[in-house]
């Protein structure tokens, strides 16, 4: 990461921060502030645990195969053999929750990445170029912002879902990879596209504000007078200074995206069987509350805690990078 020349503005309302050209770097300041935020630190720990649990631990034999059904042992209570009990088909609930988490988190991360890319590009270009381009881009953003998100996402995902078969065929034909390996990803692709297509709006506004602010600084003037081309200035000098707010809002985008995915899955339009996410598990649990309430309780708790942690972490990052943002 390049060292900033001066203190970038990081608050969501894009107020300019106080330039600190003195001794200490911004980042060590931020990190120490973050460390002092206990909620954020606990969240960090929790998230790390969750990621480990969902991505690494299932490879260990202690976790069972979530697909194995044991119809004679359905809806069993938690026991030594099944720490969270079993679901309505006798599958180990813990394994289901961990594997579901893998999909949920993956969708959250990848979609946020997609959002990030689009949002940063558009916001940066708008903020830097100004004038008509900026007006046009922001007009587009305004119009898109006025669309009912969930509705459009539902439309997109219905459409994208119906083309995944062809996409899987295409990719399998092109690369010769095993269809079973390709299918999970092409199955999720529609979600990445559908949700990512609309969740970059806020981010672009933030980036635009930051870039606008930075573009007026002396170091940019200096770079321009040196004759550096625009894209170099933008991507090598300005954006690295705007990393702060980008990171903050990216972190805060993830829970929103995960919520979207879970909602879609609840409506039956998100993750499709045999893959399940926390959203699917929650839907199954909500339906079957009469026969086994644990099916709802465990995935919900994990899902909500993950969302909470991401929010705490995001808030913590925002506080750490801009102590003047209004929180007491």
């Amino acid at each position: 990461m390049t060292r900033p020349f001066s203190d970038p503005s990081v608050s969501g309302a894009a107020r300019s921060g106080v330039a600190d050209d003195g001794g200490r770097s911004l980042w060590s300041d931020a990190v120490s502030r973050l460390r002092r935020n206990r909620a954020a630190m606990w969240s960090c720990t929790f998230l790390t645990i969750v990621v480990l649990l969902c991505f690494i631990v299932p490879f260990f034999p202690i976790i069972q195969d979530p697909a194995v059904q044991d119809l004679s042992g359905r809806n069993a209570s938690p026991s030594a053999g099944h720490w969270m009990g079993t679901d309505h088909l006798g599958r180990d609930l813990l394994a289901r929750v961990l594997h579901g988490g893998r999909i949920s988190i993956l969708v959250g991360l990848v979609t946020t990445l997609v959002s990030l890319t689009i949002g940063v590009c558009i916001g940066a270009v708008a903020g830097y170029a100004g004038g008509r381009i900026d007006a046009l881009l922001m007009r587009v953003v305004d119009v898109l912002y006025s669309l009912p998100f969930l509705i459009i996402v539902i439309l997109f995902s219905a459409l994208a879902k119906s083309h995944t078969e062809r996409l899987t065929d295409g990719i399998t034909a092109l690369t010769g990879w095993n269809r079973d390996a390709v299918a999970p990803f092409t199955g999720l692709l529609p979600l990445f596209v559908a949700i990512g297509a609309l969740s970059w709006l806020n981010l672009s506004r933030i980036v635009r504000a930051s870039v606008q602010d930075l573009a007026g600084r002396e170091f940019v003037e200096a770079a321009r007078s040196l004759g550096l081309p625009h894209h170099r200035i933008l991507f090598h000098h300005i954006l690295p200074n705007a990393v702060g707010p980008i990171v903050v809002y990216a972190t805060l985008t993830i829970p929103g995206v995960m919520l979207f995915e879970a909602t879609l899955s609840f409506l039956g339009m998100g993750v499709q069987p045999p893959y399940s996410s926390w959203g699917v598990l929650i839907k199954d649990g909500a339906d079957r509350m009469l026969s086994n309430s644990l099916l709802l309780v465990f995935p919900s708790i994990l899902f909500v805690l993950t969302l909470l942690s991401l929010n705490f972490l995001g808030d913590g990052l925002r506080d750490a990078l801009d102590p003047k943002s209004s929180r007491d």
Binding site: S146, I154, A158, P255, L259, K283
Partner: protein
């Protein structure tokens, strides 16, 4: 002022146009035709149906026809969900239901959220503050499809205070659980924003001046601070309404409320183009109107903005 209104109107129309176009092409891009049925539809039957509804014309022509119809206010006929019925007739029954639910949700969310935020701001950094903010955060992170079934089970089935699901037009008790589920997320957001706004205002000099003059705390808060403190939550009212509208799709499904959301889901599942378009445009219009009204309220609250627009 009129300029602003006109500008907003045009933007609103643009939004609806984009929505209509997007929806049209997305739906038509779905792979199977509109005439697949549970039992095999004989091919000559299918051909005749396609002829009847103009599916044999080129796509661009159909698009133009559709836009023309929409401009005239004709939303078309449903082909799958309620075959042959005018979409306007279907929505005429469903819309009041969704509207009632949405308004009820906002009527719960706004006072509760704002009040909670004010209380938290006034009792800043004490137990009340932390408690309220914790509940608010929970409200944001608990999806409505978790809250809904839990509320239905607890207050509906076990305690039998409210009906588990369903809808009776003149019976408020059917509205309570879905409205609470729907409004909780917005209430949570609003409370946080209100708290933020109030805290900022309460720090300012004129507040100290008012206190120094010996005015009562509650008077200080309500008369002086509220107007400024409400700026952030009011700014969020538009998006809050949008979120409510979107969330209603899920809540209606959980509580069997006969509103637009359930029709929309059915229409998506069966690729019923006209019945997709209708709700989408209604949702879009509602959000445009809500945003506009929210902007008006903001202008009233914050005179500084008037010169800028």
């Amino acid at each position: 002022m009129t300029r602003v209104i006109l500008q907003r109107l045009l933007q609103g129309l643009l939004v609806l146009f984009v929505l209509a176009t997007l929806t049209f092409f997305l739906v038509r891009a779905l792979p199977y035709g509109p005439f697949q049925d549970e039992r095999a539809v004989p091919s000559h039957v299918r051909e005749r149906l396609e002829q009847l509804h103009g599916y044999d014309k080129p796509l661009v022509v159909q698009y133009a026809m559709r836009l023309g119809n929409l401009a005239r206010g004709e939303l078309g006929t449903s082909l799958k969900v309620m075959e042959g019925r005018e979409v306007t007739a279907i929505l005429a029954q469903a819309f009041p239901v969704s509207l009632a639910l949405g308004l009820m949700a906002m009527l719960i969310a706004v006072p509760v959220g704002v009040a909670a935020g004010v209380i938290a701001a006034v009792r800043r950094n004490r137990v009340v503050d932390y408690a309220v903010m914790a509940v608010a955060l929970l409200g944001i992170c608990l999806p409505n499809f978790v809250i809904g079934p839990v509320l239905a089970e607890l207050f509906g089935r076990r305690l039998a205070w409210f009906p588990v699901s369903g809808w009776e037009p003149r019976d408020l008790s059917f509205m309570i659980l879905p409205a609470v589920t729907l409004g909780l997320g917005s209430a949570a957001y609003l409370s946080r924003l209100t708290r933020t706004g109030m805290v900022e205002v309460l720090h300012q000099d004129f507040i100290r001046t008012a206190r120094a003059k010996g005015q009562r705390e509650s008077w200080v808060v309500l008369r002086h601070a509220l107007r400024g403190g409400l700026i952030p939550p009011v700014a969020y009212l538009g998006p809050a309404f949008a979120a409510t509208v979107s969330g209603s799709v899920v809540v209606e499904s959980i509580f069997q409320v006969p509103g637009i959301g359930r029709l929309f889901i059915k229409a998506i599942e069966t690729s019923d183009e006209a019945l997709i378009m209708g709700p989408v445009l209604i949702y879009g219009s509602l959000i445009v109107v809500a945003n506009f009204l929210a902007d008006l309220v903001q202008l009233w609250l914050n005179p500084r903005l008037r010169s800028n627009s």
